[in-house]
């Protein structure tokens, strides 16, 4: 008998603010320990939190981009627990009245085609600090630079049905949040963190099985691997007639296994209650409309528009809109007059390679357009154009034509020059000339190749063939 997997994800993203959620400290990653701290984020006696308006704006934009409804009133709540990285002994979060609820994310499931996953809620909260165990032998140190960093927590409905689907959801979620400018979503720097809830049940069953929570997932690939491991573990238990216990598990990327961290039954009672230091967050319809207007065109809409407006294949439109920067660059190339499909080929080729390596577009749209024009006009060959592109990337400000000339890659279509190369090639290959004249016309390709070789690729291939034909016809 088969099993159905049910997965829901809790994703924390760090909001792209310059300063912390409730104080003016910087959020820079990697600064020396305990340098970005103040009375508020250290939890000193008498200090009070003041909400970061930009963090709220970003969270609201993220929520809108995920199709959520931003609540006119939401409430900050204290989540109480003791831990050395939590300066106040409580985390300011949101509980029963979150910032936003009821969204959805549509994407292509690897198993089920186009699906929609519900977003239960998005709320804002502050991050905790960090414990450092390897700095002082036998001691644990506390670094509070991260304490108070603004986060949005995005909770999905248990709508995902496989580990691969969970991964595809994360890719789409990340893409949307990057478009919305909400977070840089860097898993390496901890600005995107994933906790996964997973259970299994028999197909057709409507009740959910007992779920476990998997933590310590440091890449999308590991989310998928961890969920596969946990699914197998749960299925094996159930098939042995055992019961799944509600536990929190840690994934070990080295072994590919999960192990229990703590049992949920003995977990904390967080004693949430509204934070009396912070009045309810009241967001008017005009303010919410402003946040909606501040959003760029989102990936789904942009993909559809690119297909229609530029007649692009669906595949091209999807690749070009995978990142907002790529889509922006592509459209800037089209705007300066390049034929859309040609522009797409270039952007998905050399341009994307450079972007993936450097994160930048060193050849501006106008220079790329210039290069494409050189190819179209036969000034450089397509092969040569790739070398010109690579050189342009290294030579800020230099024009494509100048680069092509400097590299000696400008094609020669001058009849006299072509005729002399042709004469030299025909003279060097009398046997092939005789066979050609004897009817072996497919040797034309051979002659063209030889001329290209002799000219070191500079001969315009379109110009070579007529000269060859004429010369061969006229020769004795």
């Amino acid at each position: 008998m088969s099993w159905e997997t049910v997965i829901g994800l809790e994703v924390h993203v760090q909001l792209s603010t310059r300063t912390k959620m409730f104080c003016g400290c910087r959020t820079t990653f990697g600064d020396p320990p305990n340098t970005n701290v103040c009375p508020t984020c250290l939890g000193l006696p008498g200090a009070l939190p003041v909400p970061n308006a930009h963090a709220i704006r970003l969270a609201a934009r993220g929520a809108i981009a995920l199709g959520c409804m931003v609540r006119p009133t939401s409430v900050f709540a204290r989540k109480n627990y003791f831990y050395p990285d939590l300066p106040k002994g409580y985390q300011i979060s949101q509980f029963d009245q979150p910032l936003a609820t009821g969204g959805r994310v549509a994407f292509d499931s690897p198993d089920r085609g186009r699906i929609e996953v519900g977003i239960t809620r998005l709320h804002v909260e502050e991050d905790a600090g960090k414990l450092v165990h390897d700095r002082f032998p036998g001691k644990t140190a506390v670094d509070l630079n991260r304490a108070g960093t603004p986060l949005a927590e995005i909770v999905s409905e248990p709508d995902l049905r496989s580990p691969a689907e969970a991964r595809a959801y994360l890719v789409t979620l990340r893409q949307i949040l990057l478009y919305a400018g909400v977070s840089d979503c860097s898993m390496e720097q901890g600005s995107l963190r994933v906790d996964a809830n997973i259970s299994v049940r028999r197909p057709g069953e409507t009740r959910l099985g007992t779920k476990t929570e998997v933590k310590n997932l440091n890449s999308f690939a590991n989310v998928e691997r961890a969920l596969e491991a946990e699914r197998e573990r749960q299925i094996a238990m159930l098939e042995r007639g055992e019961r799944v216990a509600q536990v929190t598990l840690l994934f070990n990327a080295g072994t590919g296994q999960v192990r229990a961290l703590r049992s949920k039954e003995e977990s904390h009672d967080y004693r949430y209650f509204p934070d009396p230091d912070l009045p309810p967050l009241v967001l008017g319809p005009e303010w919410i409309a402003e946040q909606r207007e501040a959003l760029p065109e989102l990936p789904e809409a942009r993909r559809a528009r690119l297909e229609v407006a530029y007649g692009l294949p669906a595949y091209d439109a999807r690749v070009l809109t995978s990142e907002i920067a790529l889509a922006e660059y592509y459209e800037s190339v089209v705007r300066v007059g390049v034929e859309p499909k040609t522009a797409a080929n270039w952007v998905m080729g050399d341009v994307m390679t450079t972007y993936n390596e450097t994160g930048a577009f060193p050849v501006e749209a106008l220079r790329l357009a210039g290069l494409i024009t050189l190819v179209r006009d036969g000034v450089v060959s397509h092969q040569a154009a790739k070398r010109v592109y690579a050189e342009l990337a290294q030579s800020p400000g230099e024009e494509p034509k100048a680069v092509a000339e400097r590299l000696g890659l400008v094609q020669v279509s001058d009849q006299g020059a072509l005729a002399s190369w042709v004469a030299e090639v025909l003279a060097a290959h009398p046997a092939e000339v005789a066979r050609y004249k004897g009817g072996e016309t497919k040797l034309m390709g051979f002659f063209v190749g030889q001329v290209m070789k002799l000219s070191k690729g500079k001969a315009d291939p379109k110009g070579v063939q007529p000269v060859l034909q004429e010369t061969l016809r006229e020769s004795p």
Binding site: V50, P51, R271, D277
Partner: protein
Amino acid sequence: MSAAAVARETGARLAAAEAAGLNATLHWSQALLDAEAKRVGAMPAAGPLAGMPIAIKDNIVTTDAPTTCASRILEGYVSPFDATAVTRLRAAGAMIAAKANMDEFAMGSSTEHSAFGRVRHPLDPSRVPGGSSGGSAALVAAGVVPAALGSETGGSVRQPASFCGIVGVKPSYGRVSRFGLVAFGSSLDCISVFGRTVDDAARVLGAMSGHDPLDSTTIPRGPMAVPAALPDLRGLRVGLPREYFPADLHPGIAAGMERTKAAVRQLGAELVEVSLPNSAYAVPTYYIVAPAEAAANLARYDGVRYGPRKVGPEGDIRALYQATRGEGFGPEVQRRILVGTYVLSAGYYDAYYRKAQRVRARIADDFRRAFAGGVDLLLTPTTPTPAFRAGEKTEDPVAMYLADVFVCAISLAGLPALSIPVGRDEGLPVGAQLIAPFFEDERMLAAAGAIERVVAGDAEVR
């Protein structure tokens, strides 16, 4: 008189009070007073409080002296910043004279719960000055300073003001910034003022009031204008909530209230009976809401970042928390943390915390209805009895809590209120409480100024 001379005289008075065993201060020094005088002397223009020495309750942070909240857990702690109220008082030319003793973390009604010993009543050392701001009250009552800052969560300024025979003013919630006031019950906490006269208290309140971007709960309005005392109370309707005048009211307090009512009537006001039925639930409601907030607010004292750290026998973080907090907090603070943790626990939240919030809303509603019914101010006794003897209620927490029965409801409603001395019973001061609608602090102070003029605060009431 120059600021330097005031500083020397204040130092002499503080020393005398100390020698007399008042135990009202936790930190002060002549050097700090002299430095304050020098600072004030160098100010380009004399501020509204130029040269006024002010004592500060030890739960309001200052950079030039420790802030301990009268607790072992903060022994020696010096804040890197001044409270907004302190910054504004300094800017107005006031001199910070001393840090005053208090009930530990402002939890108590007698200032017997200080880790550094109880404060004596200036008129009778066997009695308590009230609390939790008992040190501040005693310093003003003993004539050491003309004004002092206390803090109120549920009556901690009005009640000691009444016990000590001075003026105690609790402003509207949100009128004075809490930034730098060590949190106890954040939704109730108000920095409040003691003065020998209504005008002194009003001037101090005016100087430190007004919106503060560092406290999101301050009301976005500028400083309070200091009102002049009204010449009379003609045209005012003063409500007497019948629940605040029980038949078994202490005879001395009852006599004090009769005098006050007569004076108010004589000043031309109309007295009308009103009802605040839900005030009966104020004390139990308060003892759910305040401890719940306190349990969270006091979680930060964990020995990890500041304050004395105790390492438990097991040597792990749990033991560190247990030892630091077990030894650092006194019994009353521990009791409130336990209560607060309990009322927020899963399964109890609805029965206690949520219900208390609903009752709190009803209590506030009673006041709104009374004021909407055409009453300008309310008049009640401040305390059910004059100052009680030290040790009388320390073994019975509920009896101690009931010392705040007439002041608690106002704190839950966030309203401005004050206590003024209206006479003495067998030598012990009796206070009357005036309550105003939200943000009508000026109206209340102006009326209190008129009453103060005609009621002799130091005359026997019987």
